[in-house]
Subunit: 75 residues, 6 copies
Amino acid sequence: MELVPGNSLITASPEDGRALAVLLARNTIRAIQPDVEVLRKSRGEYANDPDSLTSAAHVVSIEFATIAAANDYWR
Amino acid sequence: MELVPGNSLITASPEDGRALAVLLARNTIRAIQPDVEVLRKSRGEYANDPDSLTSAAHVVSIEFATIAAANDYWR
Amino acid sequence: MELVPGNSLITASPEDGRALAVLLARNTIRAIQPDVEVLRKSRGEYANDPDSLTSAAHVVSIEFATIAAANDYWR
Amino acid sequence: MELVPGNSLITASPEDGRALAVLLARNTIRAIQPDVEVLRKSRGEYANDPDSLTSAAHVVSIEFATIAAANDYWR
Amino acid sequence: MELVPGNSLITASPEDGRALAVLLARNTIRAIQPDVEVLRKSRGEYANDPDSLTSAAHVVSIEFATIAAANDYWR
Amino acid sequence: MELVPGNSLITASPEDGRALAVLLARNTIRAIQPDVEVLRKSRGEYANDPDSLTSAAHVVSIEFATIAAANDYWR
């Protein structure tokens, strides 16, 4: 499976970079747990748990830091 | 939905950068869990739990690190 | 409310930078939970829990990393 | 045992860098817990727990940040 | 109280930098919880809990990253 | 006790850097909890807990980021 969509960290804008950060995080989880049914059940749990949502946002923030640096912060 | 308000990491001041960091973190969570009713209930839980508040502040600190670097620390 | 006291990351010394890091972390939490009474109760809990103290110190360490970089490490 | 496959952080593409990030994280765990039977049982637990999956994705995101910097973000 | 011993991040060696990282983490916790009796009790708990020890080591690793950068990695 | 083996972050290769990262993390824990008997018992617990293993791998990833930067990523 593909871990980095488009095989590049370069994006046209911060918005696109943020969307890529979300995908990177998701794709890691799919690589570890490829069973779609387990993931669907997982989602039902963590999407309703405030701390799980914060943990997911935490991972996205780190992926985004890398992507933002790669794009020289779209300056 | 919009993940990065204004589609830019550049802000006029540290204060504005900090406010953007809070919004980035919130918008990730809304992207994962778009159901406003679930989020309202979540907020009632985590805003009263010291560890959940610290975890939220943790994510903001990472988002802010990226924004501060993007703005060359407003030096 | 003010998120970044003095609206600047530049401080005269590492000691001042560290104090700013503590304030940044606190102000995020106050922005998320503005109810002073809830915060006072929260403090009574986390200040007596070793893991909560470590989590708070964790956030301060990240805020400080940003402030230290902003000040070119006071070299 | 080998901790860094190929003894290099340089990869041909972001996709390869991401795969290396996953391996680095796995190899650390195998170095700490070399018992394959314990690891197989562990996997059965954390791969079905949403928070454990997020934690694993968290570690991968940090390994990837290092690898991406090493490769100057494949720019 | 003093948060940064010596009010400087510059140290003579990695070993001294590491010792400073441990002190920075400790001093944050003392600033949040100044009651020595509570801290002594806390220590008895977290020093016997593997996950608490890992969390403490986590904070030290971040403080050290900042100190190492400040010293240009003692190259 | 020694916190940084060899008192240097410079290593000959990524593999050696990774081994140093593991030692740095271990030595922090030994500095906080010097009682070898407690550590041995701790190890028996966390080495069999998937989340504890992930947390340990997390700390190693941060130590490695610092060491990799110190060595300019062995480029």
